[in-house]
Symmetry: D2
Subunit: 391 residues, 4 copies
């Protein structure tokens, strides 16, 4: 018996368009979904030829010039947003008003105020909204969450988060949109910090106070050529430079509402760290650590083991009991970055089916950006900022 | 302009059927292939309902009861064999005679003699044949091969290979076909050893002599229930047991033709090792080590670095220059087991297009099984066996 | 020809008394020293019997009740101070006035003001003064310093320091002097933070601004029994509790004068971390990381290696070229905590011989405590504090 | 109350003379020994001046030209043998006949027959004899032994041992006595293999059968200059070369008497491995692994943990319960190579006091060399050799 079809409209393409297309194409092959996603229509914006090639490759049935056309269509059930951050708000609000479910890339928006508007729109419309902080759906993280919920970590004393990359070490890496405040909201503070704060909120709790220091090591960069995208400079004959408007790094100390003391170090200037999304959690009964670069491993210390036998266990989170790992290839058969997109798509389709809430969503997105705005203000004003100060 | 279609006939299903279906479905989305694979027809054998569900999920257009029907069809270009090992020979020879290109799971066959027959058939037919020792196409391995070819390792003194798993530690794990000599050819010696010998031949060279000791720690096991498959025991009410006909472990010492001294330790009795396909290579100019469980990392020591600055480098083999890694998500964005199947499918389609040879193939398969037969004989006769003794 | 004798007077005993006694006893056996240290006299304070046993074991020739007796003796060349922190000042100043060379445990004193007094006294007296931040003399650290001085790290962007322990996780661990502000100055902020700031100053440079948050998770603890010492609770029947006056943890973000952005996380509440003195340094040409718990290993990334071949090298810092490693057992023969005391003693004796300056010393101690006082003030006032504010 | 003195006579000096001198000098400072060792007399052999300097440094009271003088002295209680291997037999037998207790470097002797003679002599004389396979007394190993004895590993299926070094990679490293069969008995097979077999016998049990392949990659080497010692080539103007009579590497597969299947790979040709004495033990209830280069860490997997929570624990074997670790500096304060010599000296003095047996001893040494002779024969005859064949 064939599954019910559900039609996706994709706004944007690029790196994330590809990852999302992969997920929609494959989710019902690996997971027991209620729907069969149809890659119905995507925007082509200013690059029609490239979009046609992309659509042909991934099976998007139609192309539309403008995202508004897609949002206006009756046959579209899900709006999938993979544009630069600054465009999320307008698209999401329009999609919500049109009654579409929303699957949106992170970070939520370029300001807390924008996030609140988005949250208001989706709440009023009663649509399912999902914000793709995909690392929550790494099996090792799903299992970490389970250990915490089972009480195996106990009271949490410390969170030590770091998200380190190195792709802007070269001062000639061009000024892509990621370096513009009006388009990205912030530098690694927003791009990486939003992921790290999402994991911290998920695993530890809400942040209460922030002290942060943002830094821009390279104040000017060459204007970008056409091929320049995140991670890849492309060829470039630019003689002009532009001003970097965002941080290159942001380090912060935080207090959580539950009394834990934490830190976040995010930067794009850490040599050899390619996508080092790392954390350590120290509790009264157990401790955890994880790093995306070896995402299938969770390190777990059980403080209730006999003292002499204690040690961080390297758990291969590839077994049936490790979150959604069981759907894949078997013990020790590692999975990768894109598999988390399948997990998210499956959970999203389930929420659509059930009319239930999926997290993280725009509510989470707003809370995350609020912390990051507090960090930005702390860095400007050289003082501790209460997250509640950000209105 | 639409790509040329190429029709696949799948013989078998199960774990590997899924992995291959994934690859055929996705290869042309990620890679610049000349063909668009069509998942045309698959066998349903004795489990029609399960096969129908599988076909529906993965988009196989038709089902056929018997593999012979598929081989006989004019519209099928590629025969993809994912059956138990003992069936490879008959299917492959028939497929070759029918002029089909062949994409076959490993190990090649249950005996060297069978492999030779297969090799003869494909050679006479002039079809493309590929044997899916997929670990060769992990980017870290592709890069290791490049370093060796560039002379950065120098003369190789040692290979230390190990392929360790633990899924049969429980003596009640049932007697699936993997424990039967007539169906599997051997235990981990064949299943894991074939992978390890493939990597050794690829990276070091041909094996000349073998001394091996095979061991069966659990001589009897319960007969399997219907759900029992590799890694998963399933529920089982069996009261009867059957004889384990294959090794549970095999350790060997080998000499390579180029004068390197090596070892292979393969076992399914190594607690905590889920899919630990590991090697170390020691050369006169550099050294390498790798382990599938963290497959994106290659460890490389450059003996030409200043003495005090030498150390094993942990390379994140996720950059553009690391074999086929560049097609994926970017630096530090790890990939997993199934991505190697995409790499293999792409290379296979290219060989079909060009009429060229792809490796590993049945010729390699024969050489691998020859080494493993030498190991089996060594263990039986308690003496060193020359690989050339195996005729 | 016998070496010249040099007479040591030891003030204090305990854990550090033992480590220092070991160093004085063995330094001239392993190192080419100009002097033969004589373990001449030590204090016995309130525990005469234990001191007698200690002296007998280690070969201290005489015992004195009061440190003032020792300082007053003409035949003593070196005063070695291993008392609780709050006593350092008075002893050091008296020793300086008496013209003794001073070998002093860390941290320097309980306040910046005290440190300045100590520095003034030794400067006026012209004696050699050494502050035993022993981690500087781990061969891996000595080699890290060399790489930095050779320019192999380039401009430093980030320092990420952490010093994590777990010995006070149990809320019943008793209130030893380490928990009293008047005796210790601070908690891990002083005990561990002083070590971490010493390494940061040594390897990166001076700290300019601090934002810190101190935390005390366990505000009351049982009063200590007689056996209670650092790391070991001893038996305890205490029914009374006392107030913990110091931090249990302190996390901070700092700017260095050279424009690097850094962090320090120090705590005694991190399960499974026994003596985890860790740092990462990220530069424009290379990066380093190290952790005391595997103190013989230095991780080094060379950003001038070909891009695809880059990776953190694990260097076994046990070769001749690695600082003072060459004096020990040979490549890969790891050394331990106490060996650093031998290195320090040798360097100290050389400074005495040459009348030269050894670092770290009281000048360094003052600069370190100044940073820590800035951290304490930052935590109290919830704002960034310039180190220069601390007068 | 002063301890009873016990007089040591040291035969030999060099690397091991220093390590032993260190142990005798310090053992009673750290450990509760019944005796105070006196460094009474040592040989000076052909290098009187160097021996005088050594004796001065370490406090050896007297020098004797010939070991026979020392063995003949009534006031000597313990003969400590640190000569090249081939000299052990004659000295040990003479010492036993003179009623001296014997502390002897490994390997025991250059042949099984010699070992048996030594064993016979000490047994007849009733003296305490100790063979310094010091790795047994690393706290991590002591704790591994405890876990095994408590049944926490269960039935052992596999031993995977490796002892890898790289100091002879350079074909110009000179022909020191370690390359001469008449002086060393074998190459790494004897030097490193004896250590690895000692650990295997200690932790797993007796070896029953051996298949081995020995290799000499560099058949000729320059004759050594005066400074050449193990690990250090020294300056050398040699124009003549000599024949390497021993193996450069030896790989073997073994069966243990208790049914475990094992392997040993020993070599001096493994780049980047400085002193990589490594093993893995796989059992039915738990698994262990260890490597000397991070000797303070033991990896332990408990197969009785819940399946999803299993993983190798990295235990910092620096706590009170970890063998003799408690005598040192405290949790996480790592120790090094020389500390194991203190442990051994303490246990030896206790055996002397109690008249008890200490292991390993000459009986163990004989069993170890028997396995190694079986390996040598296996390699020569290209067949499996029963250890019982070696008479």
């Amino acid at each position: 018996m064939a599954k019910q079809k559900i039609n996706i409209g994709l706004i944007g393409s690029g790196f994330m368009g590809r990852a999302h297309s992969f997920a929609w194409s494959n989710v019902s092959k690996f997971m027991d979904t209620d729907f069969e996603p149809v890659l119905k229509v995507m925007t082509y914006g200013s690059k029609k030829e490239a979009a046609e090639e992309f659509a042909e490759k991934w099976g998007w049935e139609e192309l539309a010039k403008d995202w508004k056309e897609i949002v206006a269509r009756d046959d579209i059930d899900i709006i999938d947003i993979v544009t630069p951050t600054y465009l999320h708000k307008e698209i999401a609000i329009a999609a919500a008003k049109a009654g579409k479910h929303i699957y949106c890339e992170k970070p939520c928006a370029i300001s807390y105020a924008d996030c609140l508007e988005m949250e208001k729109a989706v709440t009023e419309a009663g649509v399912v909204h999902y914000l793709n902080h995909n690392y929550r759906r790494v099996p090792a993280i799903e299992f970490a969450k389970k250990l915490i919920e089972e009480g195996k970590i106990g009271r949490i004393y410390h969170w030590r988060g770091a998200y380190l990359q190195d792709w802007i070490l070269d001062p000639n890496f061009p000024l892509t949109w990621q370096f513009r405040k009006d388009m990205a909201g912030g530098g690694p503070l927003y791009d990486l910090g939003s992921h790290s704060v999402d994991l911290a909120r998920y695993l530890v709790g809400e942040v209460k106070t922030v002290m942060a220091k943002n830094y821009t090591f390279t104040p000017e960069r060459p204007l970008p050529g056409k091929e320049a995208v995140v991670f890849r400079a492309g060829s470039n004959n630019a003689t002009e430079t532009g001003k970097v408007e965002v941080d290159d790094a942001s380090f912060m100390v935080v207090e959580f509402e539950n009394g834990a003391l934490g830190s976040f170090d995010v930067t794009r200037m850490a040599g050899g760290r390619k996508n080092y999304n790392h954390f350590e959690i120290y509790g009264s009964k157990g401790c955890l650590s994880w790093n995306f670069e070896s995402m299938n491993e969770l390190r777990f210390l059980n403080l209730e083991d006999p003292a002499g036998e204690q040690g961080y266990r390297t758990i291969s989170a590839t077994l049936g009991g490790h979150g959604q790992a069981g759907v894949w290839w078997g013990p020790g058969h590692v999975i990768g970055y894109e598999n988390t997109f399948i997990h998210a798509a499956a959970d999203f389709l389930k929420a659509v089916k059930d009319g239930s809430v999926i997290t993280p969503n725009f509510t989470d997105g707003a809370k995350i950006i609020r912390v990051l705005e507090a960090a930005a203000r702390s860095s400007e004003e050289n003082r501790q900022v209460l997250v509640s100060e950000i209105a």
